[in-house]
């Protein structure tokens, strides 16, 4: 348009932009709400299952492979443990590892990204070299190597999965910061002698925040799959603690007779991944309409 360089001096209308952005926000809100509901349902199941069903996930509750019936909703596994209870309890493991790993990578990755993006120069080059080094290995390979060295406890899993997610975080946050640091309000702050950490917190963070939320949800979706892959390979949380990846691995031999055994944890995995993705997508749509 011709008027890029000229701006009118009438007060910007209050409802104009709001009206325009209503549609995507609504759509994104629905997405976010559905995503949150899915995840809440999964979490709720994993914690309320003790009230619903009288079994513990590790006790032998009946014969092996009872099939679907009233006492064992999803039957029992090869050792006679209640499969539904195990499926629900496994959600605690998978979901909590995903949340904590994503949060940890958010904190560390964002700090790296903010520092590199705001400071630039040598610090930026150094940090990004480290990040690129991490990025150049497939994350599953890195995780495998790390888990083989350290024992696969829940804590190490969180740390390892966080570390492999950090590079993406740092990259995304840095890219946005590089863009923002040339904006006039950041320059104004620098001219006024505002110190770099204050600029980072006051000016960069609020403008990067929506992006961080998108990345957080996306990371959680990836981490949940990664954790299951590790469990499937026997490098996740160790038995008898149930986890979805491990359950898929253990049940695949009985797939022909009892297809619901692998399908249960696979479906739960899919649902939780979709839940996180919906939230991530929702945030990114609403971000576009806001910024």
């Amino acid at each position: 348009m011709s008027d890029i360089v000229t701006v009118e001096d009438v007060p910007a209308s209050k409802d104009g932009p709001a009206k325009r952005s209503l549609r995507p926000v609504l759509r994104s809100r629905t997405g976010i709400i559905v995503g949150v509901l899915i995840l809440l349902a999964l979490v709720g199941m994993s914690y309320l299952v003790g009230v619903l069903r009288p079994y513990s996930p590790t006790e032998v509750a009946g014969d092996p492979f009872t099939g679907l019936d009233g006492t064992h909703w999803m039957g029992t596994d090869d050792l006679g443990r209640d499969y539904f209870v195990r499926l629900c309890i496994a959600g605690r493991t998978s979901l909590s590892i995903a949340v904590f790993a994503a949060l940890l990578s958010l904190v560390v990755g964002s700090m790296i990204g903010l520092a590199a993006g705001l400071q630039g120069g040598r610090l930026d080059a150094l940090l990004m070299a480290g990040v690129d080094l991490l990025l150049s290995f497939p994350s599953i390979l890195l995780a495998l190597a790390a888990i083989t060295v350290f024992s696969p406890t829940r804590k190490t899993l969180v740390i390892v999965l966080a570390v492999v997610s950090i590079p993406q975080f740092a990259r995304v946050v840095r890219a946005r910061c590089l863009e923002l640091r040339e904006r006039e309000f950041i320059l104004s702050a620098r001219i006024s002698g505002v110190r770099a950490p204050v600029i980072a917190v006051k000016h960069l963070l609020p403008n990067v925040f929506p992006l961080m939320m998108v990345q957080l949800a996306n990371t959680a979706a990836i981490v949940i799959l990664l954790e299951s892959s590790l469990s499937y390979l026997g490098l996740g949380v160790q038995p008898p603690t149930p986890s979805w990846g491990r359950m898929i691995f253990e049940s695949q031999n009985y797939m022909a007779d009892s297809p619901w055994l692998p399908l249960g944890p696979a479906g739960a995995l899919l649902l939780s991944s979709i839940g996180w993705s919906l939230i991530g997508e929702g945030f990114s749509v609403s971000r576009r309409s806001v910024v």
Binding site: M1, S2, D3, I4, V5, T6, V7, E8, D9, V10, P11, A12, K14, P17, R183, E184, F185, L187, S188, A189, R190, I191, S192, G193, V194, R195, V198, K202, H203, P206, N207, V291
Partner: protein
């Protein structure tokens, strides 16, 4: 709407573009209304007609609907737009009734458009010649082999030097001016009868703009096309248009011959618009007794800054020395790439000079090499206002928080800070409750007022204003300039006012520095610089400024457009990116007074007379000295 007699487009093979009745209008609009859903239509009852061989200027501020009219003529408005008109015809084609195929044929055959951004109009991955040839073969029914000759002729006619070589180049290899000339050639390739030009020179430097405006006059005379020239710049219209229409809020409020409208405006709006335009020959309206000869406050001593970009050295600023005096307004002018913005960034310590010193004349305040805390304190003594009001405020912070920031950094008490913020917001003329609102709720001009409030809140000594009004409409610009002058007097501030617009600089400055290719070429008090420029570049700049008075236009345009030599030369040498810095004067290739020594010996800035520094071997009007 097939079968309608008026829906027939002109014969594409028509020999000379004079479609239909030569005296009939090529564009006829009666009672055009464009609306979007509910609310008042954005264009209301517009009547406009353009005959071949005339330029009709369309003036208006942003949001007045002038671009919508142009897009409506082409049938290019978004689907949501409701367009109605008693008549909207181009060369007899009813645009509103035409189907998509007819419209497509009409665009290019009968009407073409030139945009502000030539880079967007040209395909970056295609050679210039091929792009034009494509249109020529499609619309003129010429064979590919013959098309090359037509392309060559077109490029030559629009003043592209060495048309054969340029035709083989890609758009990015051309300078801005040549690119716009190529875009004009592309628009003329289909031999249209009507040319719509939407702010075609807004993105160009003033010396380049002069050439393009001349090109439009030539296109009118030689190709006989009717041109609608849309611009917010009254000078541009005054120097090119035969007739003028003034738009306000979607309506044409005044319409007539260029001299009639611009010299004897009938409506209050046009009068206001004309009053707002800063004039080159009109200095700041104040007694000349201002203490211009204040003490040097901020001394820039032999400062240079070089960037490295893709293996090339770019000498953005080279050996600039000047002093900013207490209480003055020092204007800095130059074209894009002249180094004025880099100089501004060094003045506020966003960039460090590679060599040279910046000294604030107060004990203990030296810019270079001071520690963090000291640099912070020093920084607050020099503040800056940027060009783009939209970017200068954090969209997520309330206005009060943004304005208070310089105070927070200097440990002012919360209560005193809040009081001071209210005070400066009042001073820049914003409503009481502004502090609690978000930047989105303010218009461009108001945002710029907030940016000014923010700059002065911490009692700085010097405020650097980097094109503070370039993004604003002319009436808003006048208000902001007034405000800046008022504040300067009230707070006893010193300004460094950077702009490419000489008339704006004239309106506010006491002294003016002219930069070219990273160097200072002239520094003098405003009156003598504008009345008797000594450097040839300054003279060229002043001559290129389109005057808002239509009587100032060149009597009879030359038959052929002046070749875009200046523009091509600029891409190679004038942008401060001398690959291997030539030994002589950077302006020598464009200078009318250049002699042999200009190409071999660089002229150093010399104080020719008290208070007047010129870097030229043969300064104009100073031969006797």
């Amino acid at each position: 709407m097939k079968g309608r007699p008026v829906a027939d487009t002109a014969d594409p093979a028509a020999p000379d573009g004079a479609d239909g009745d030569p005296s009939g209008p090529v564009l006829a609009i009666r009672n055009l209304t464009i609306g979007y859903g509910t609310g008042a239509p954005s264009v209301r009852g517009v009547d406009l007609s353009v005959r071949s061989g005339e330029i009709v200027g369309l003036i208006g501020e942003s949001g007045s609907g002038k671009s919508s009219v142009a897009l409506g003529c082409l049938g290019l408005l978004p689907k949501a737009a409701e367009v109605t008109a008693d008549e909207l015809t181009i060369c007899g084609t009813d645009v509103l009734a035409a189907d998509e195929r007819t419209l497509t044929r009409m665009r290019g055959d009968s009407v073409a458009m030139v945009f502000q951004d030539a880079m967007g109009a040209l395909d970056p991955s295609m050679r210039i010649g091929n792009q034009i040839a494509e249109v020529v073969t499609r619309h003129r029914g010429v064979k590919r082999a013959e098309a090359r000759a037509v392309v060559r002729e077109l490029l030559d006619k629009v003043g592209v030097p060495e048309p054969d070589r340029r035709a083989r180049q890609y758009p990015h290899q051309l300078s801005g001016g040549l690119r716009q000339r190529a875009a004009v050639a592309l628009a003329l390739a289909g031999d249209p009868a009507l040319l719509l030009a939407d702010e075609p020179t807004t993105a160009l430097d003033v010396t380049v703009q002069a050439g393009i405006l001349e090109l439009f006059r030539t296109v009118r005379d030689e190709f006989g096309v009717g041109i609608v020239l849309i611009s917010h710049d009254i000078g541009v219209i005054a120097q090119t248009a035969d007739r003028v229409a003034v738009m306000l809020d979607g309506e044409i409020v005044e319409h007539g011959g260029v001299e009639e409208v611009l010299l004897e405006p009938k409506t209050e709006y046009t009068r206001m618009l004309l009053r707002s335009v800063p004039h080159l020959d009109r200095p700041r309206d104040e007694p000349e007794s201002r203490p211009v000869a204040g003490k040097p406050l901020y001394v820039v001593d032999d400062v240079s800054r070089t960037y490295r970009s893709r293996g090339r050295l770019i000498h953005a600023v080279q050996g600039v020395s000047l002093d900013v005096r207490e209480g003055e307004v020092l204007g800095v002018v130059g074209e894009s790439g002249s180094g004025k913005s880099t100089l501004a960034k060094m003045l506020v310590h966003l960039e460090r000079p590679d060599s040279g010193r910046l000294t604030m004349s107060e004990p203990g305040h030296r810019a270079g090499g001071s520690g963090g805390g000291r640099a912070g304190r020093l920084r607050r003594r020099v503040q800056m206002v940027f060009q783009h009001p939209a970017g200068s405020l954090n969209p997520r912070l309330r206005v009060g928080t943004s304005v208070r920031e310089p105070l927070a950094a200097s440990d002012t008490g919360a209560k005193a800070a809040a009081e001071r913020v209210r005070e400066v917001l009042r001073e820049v003329g914003l409503p009481e409750d502004s502090a609690a609102r978000l930047p989105d709720e303010f218009s461009g001009g108001q945002k710029q007022r907030i940016a000014i409030a923010r700059a002065i809140v911490g009692d700085p000594r010097v405020v650097v204003l980097d094109e503070p009004t370039s993004a604003l409409d002319v009436s808003v610009q006048a208000q902001v300039l007034d405000l800046l002058s008022k504040i300067q007097r009230a707070e006893n501030l010193t300004y460094v006012f950077i702009s490419h617009d000489l008339a704006v600089v004239r309106a506010i400055s006491d002294r003016v520095a002219v930069m070219y290719a990273g160097r200072l070429v002239e520094l003098a008090d405003a009156a003598s610089l504008f009345e008797a420029p000594a450097h040839w570049y300054t003279r060229e700049l002043l001559a290129a400024m389109p005057s808002p008075d239509p009587r100032d236009r060149p009597e009879r345009p030359e038959r052929r457009p002046r070749a875009g030599q200046a523009e091509s030369g600029q891409a190679e040498s004038g942008q401060g990116e001398e690959a291997a810095a030539p030994a002589g004067c950077a302006f020598a290739s464009r200078c009318p007074a250049a002699e042999d020594n200009c190409r071999t010996v660089r002229p150093e800035p010399v104080e020719l007379e008290p208070g007047r520094v010129v870097a030229c071997h043969h300064p104009a009007g100073m031969e006797g000295r």
